[in-house]
Symmetry: C3
Subunit: 133 residues, 3 copies
């Protein structure tokens, strides 16, 4: 199962919790695992606070301080090596426990698509696996 999204800016964290929840709601699996996967190398998936938007602002600013867009030692011709670094630092996917038909996210947790070289059209894949006995 896949869905598409359009990221709004060069750097962005887009809350995709509702989209993922829609796939979970139509699955017959009630307990197991939900895997959210990003098939792009300049983007990532993470889980973090979905209450105060300042958290997302601060996270993107901190990532940019740690991984500057320009570095004297970057050779890659496309000029987006910083986005590749952030993609591997944050990671291409997240696994979320599925309990009684709902993702067992914490109170403040949301699932984010992290864009590091946008704006672009992007894709997200959701896989649901059943728990054992």
């Amino acid at each position: 199962m896949e869905f598409d999204l359009r990221t709004p800016r060069h750097d962005a964290m887009v809350d995709i919790t509702a989209e993922v929840s829609r796939f979970v709601a139509v699955s017959s699996i009630r307990n197991g695992l939900v895997v959210v996967f990003c098939p792009h190398t300049t983007a990532a998936i993470t889980i973090n606070e979905n209450a105060d938007p300042d958290v997302v602002h601060d996270m993107l600013a901190q990532f940019n301080q740690m991984v500057p867009w320009r570095q004297p030692f970057f050779d890659h011709g496309e000029g987006n090596s910083a986005a590749h670094v952030k993609s591997s630092m944050i990671g291409a996917g997240e696994v979320i426990p599925l309990v009684d038909g709902k993702m067992a996210l914490g109170t403040w947790q949301g699932i984010y698509f992290c864009e590091f070289d946008g704006p672009r059209s992007r894709r997200v894949r959701v896989t649901i696996l059943p728990e054992g006995a």
Copy 2:
């Protein structure tokens, strides 16, 4: 399956390998995957060396150098944006192969609950999934 822990300091890596192993021991699944998930946005789960405690000291010190607690560009009113950044850098969960009833961790690997804004009461969820044929 869940368990609670109390983290001891503001920054800490608490070895939870024994707690996770207890859930694995009572499961009827012998081969598959063990997923350890942290439902908090200022903490994380990682796998790293469990032999020399200096490794944990050095890791926490390096995280603090990369992500300072105070930054002029942090807006979040709670003042713990650094903890949110570290949570996404390290990640909310780990997946560990389950082989013949035991987690297939390497010789020096232990599972750690990473606290970045403690001390606090925290929760960890363990999910076990069966391997296919």
Copy 3:
């Protein structure tokens, strides 16, 4: 299922997509999840671009700037704390959706074994789990 590799240098990203694909090809599971796990504490698994080798160069250089090999606050006697930090930053494993018998990697995605304290002999474990109905 496991395979061994020899890493070529102190810092390296070795493309292991072909090795993992070989395990996928002989599995009877057509849809589900492929988990690639690194049982070492100074190495990691990541997914990133497999087209331009400059990307790997730039990523390793950026990791080394963020996490210097020597730090005045490193206590660990082995002297490889930087490798432990990078291992937890990048992560011990990756989960990849399996769709119709093939890993659903994006066009530019490859699976990399990241060596941060080599050259060494290393091991990788591949676990394949079936999707639910």
